[in-house]
Symmetry: C3
Subunit: 336 residues, 3 copies
């Protein structure tokens, strides 16, 4: 049901602090914590003794101690102490998940540890680059994770879901080009001399038409979609590679399944302009409300899906990227 | 499980206004809306494209537009526009339910549209007749719809559930007469020279005994029970057809299944006396609290039923009307 | 799934007052009420007529009257009146459960009434003895009842769950002795010259080490665990039977299953010292918070168990009493 041999965003780095953090990922309870030297560690959140959650315990030096009988586990998941007896049973250990930390996000590998190749995680340097100014958050969303992926991949919804911010008619007129590179799906939509999304007009202080683009890469093996999107004066050369007169926004969506009807949505939106302008920062932070509009529609959709239906779905032309993405994920799941 | 080839009250007319209204009926999500000319329309609340609820969309002229990708449906349920492409796929449509509006209630037909004969809906002229003064509301009730029908059909509960308002010992002494006319069940209970329900004593300003009657007609093919009930001075001729000295109350109960354990209760109570008397209006509006006493007992009953039980039910004589009603509904369901 | 041929604490005596009390026990709805002479009675909370809960009715003299149609039941469960008709159907009765009241607790027998031998209920005289001062309460706990039994039987959790009150390292060093006497499990742990639980140090005003003991008896056929625990000066003879210089606390835990994932926890803590000392009473009443620490850990454990797991549990030496208790209960269930 889930693509297990994949990295997923488990948490923001700052979420893992002094106390262990409980999180349900792919229907498995996970505890995230840091050793004394700051290394992030992920265990199954289930003591091997009586299945109490280790997240109800505490960090003791470089170990995690169960809050029930005090069994203590080192960073590898091995039990190193049972307080009521001198010996530790030889099989006493909890499952440890491969974990890596990159640009403020903590990534977990939920499948076969031997396959955990962290080169599969795309670079997201814009999360903490000095040349960018980023905002971000985590939403708990009541929908199947693929519905949340769908809404990110199909921008033709913007005019209806985000009429005052991202919505533009250009997305409806200009078909995107979707290509596959290994297990990564790429998409770009170029809208020359087109009506821009309202938020971009305000950001770039452009009245009327502009050259607009939206590109994204969807990496199922890392559960993320990375957007490169922006606007420039008409004819300023942005489609020939000259972005010197453009404003751009790099957005990242880390979408991690929780259950069959819920998921975690980690997101970042990083601009490359007016980095220290408080007014602009306030306006661009409004992307949070835009993403909450996505949440509202996919949660409404899930409520209807929960009633069940054998009714077919009618496809339209704009579904090409989402259909390709679902086929790609289905193939990767079938192969595992 | 449900009688589908039947009309059900879907909404009060005033509930369907500028925005689409979502309602779950017989476990199906339904959206109710009005075209520009005010015609009420009911669709399956599930866009044919990606199953988003159309109730999260908006009314555009005479059409309903999905709030996700903007697919637009005319009053027949046919998709007439897909904003991101020039063509509309030929099968793009949503299910439309037959709907009709009568005396402030909107009725829906959930079964085979070809069988939707609106002459099956009984006349409820008292809802908005100038000769009557009506109060009404909709309750969401946490019980199987047949439990709510039962409590309306068996008035011997009144002395225990409504001791201060409708309860009278006469209902316990005088057996009703139950007859069937086609698929409609009729019942009348005449209580000559009997202790009247307290609310009627106060309404008619009668001390002591009175001639009292309770009649109802239950129409499963319209999901409603219509009451004709009242009181007159003893011997004033009310049982011979002379109601000139009587006060009467016509009550309607539209009971519409929502799920196996919940239903909608639409009700009206219309009196034919003291139409403009504010004190009397306040007293007679108290029928709302009386009906909420019914709700309390059937919800308590449902909580116990949810625990499950194979225990038999012991029948008593007063169960004749409810047993007949359940048999009638069971037969109609079996025939469909 | 449950041991049915057993007594369970159903309620505190004071909980059964003027109105019938509804309580779910072993997944069965039960109504508890008192006749006019004060005798506590337990019925199935389901009228034999239409399954309305009798707890929604009222007490009329020595009978319980259903709040729906007024069927009236005497203390044996026999229906003695159907208000709408002169005859009572011969099979009209509700199930009555054997009930007995002892020292402020009301005990119910959920199994075969013929086997309800009330000599199976252990004496809990300390609940209301003039030589003791007791505090007590009822908690509704979101865990399987055996998890709550486990935490009471294994005191090695105290150092981790109750570090500031009951936790002492002695429990970790001194193994208890567990014995079985018929269907009752006994356990005692003697900790001579040992660090005492902090709450006992404060109660006995002992600095440093003390002679400490914890004894308990678990009686599955009464669903209770009775503790005899205390502290005395080192060498004062407490292990030779001289308690004249000791302070003792008798605690009772009545653990009654509600559903597969919830239970009722009735508890009493009775001290034999400083009976009228308000400061000491306040301190010893803090045992409530200690027992709520137990609740927090078993509810956390249940949340993890609700996710499901085939993972084995690793046993440790301290599990001997809980494993024996579970085996005893399993055998008694298998025998019934």
């Amino acid at each position: 049901m889930y693509l297990r041999d994949a990295w997923y965003v488990a948490a923001w780095s700052h979420e893992i602090a002094d106390a262990p953090l409980a999180r349900l990922l792919l229907e498995e309870p996970v505890v995230l914590w840091r050793t004394g030297d700051g290394t992030a560690v992920a265990f199954e959140d289930r003591c091997c003794h009586r299945h109490a959650p280790l997240s109800a315990g505490k960090i003791v030096g470089d170990c995690l101690q169960c809050g029930y009988h005090g069994l203590t586990f080192d960073r590898t998941g091995a039990c190193v102490e049972v307080p009521s007896q001198p010996q530790v049973p030889p099989d006493a250990r909890v499952r440890r998940y491969p974990l890596t930390e990159r640009h403020n996000w903590v990534w977990i590998w939920m499948g076969d540890p031997a396959a955990a190749d962290d080169s599969l995680i795309p670079d997201t340097y814009w999360h903490d680059s000095p040349d960018r100014r980023a905002v971000g958050d985590r939403f708990h969303v009541n929908c199947h994770y693929q519905s949340l992926i769908d809404i990110q991949l199909d921008n033709t919804h913007s005019r209806f879901v985000h009429p005052d911010t991202l919505g533009n008619a250009g997305s409806l007129r200009h078909s995107p080009k979707t290509t596959r590179d290994g297990d990564v799906l790429h998409n770009h939509r170029r809208m020359p001399d087109s009506d821009p999304p309202p938020i971009f007009s305000r950001a770039a202080k452009i009245d009327g038409n502009a050259d607009v683009w939206v590109e994204w890469a969807y990496t199922p093996r890392a559960g993320i979609i990375a957007f490169d999107t922006g606007i420039a004066e008409v004819g300023s050369g942005v489609f020939d590679g000259d972005r010197s007169k453009a404003v751009t926004m790099f957005n990242t969506h880390g979408i991690t399944p929780e259950t069959a009807t819920t998921c975690h949505h980690f997101w970042v939106s990083a601009r490359d302009f007016a980095l220290d302008d408080p007014e602009m920062h306030k306006m661009m932070s409004g992307i949070r409300d835009v993403f909450l509009e996505d949440v509202a529609i996919v949660e409404a959709q899930q409520r209807i899906r929960n009633y069940g239906s054998d009714a077919p779905q009618i496809d339209i032309g704009a579904d090409v990227p989402t259909i390709q993405a679902r086929k790609l994920v289905a193939r990767l799941i079938a192969e595992q």
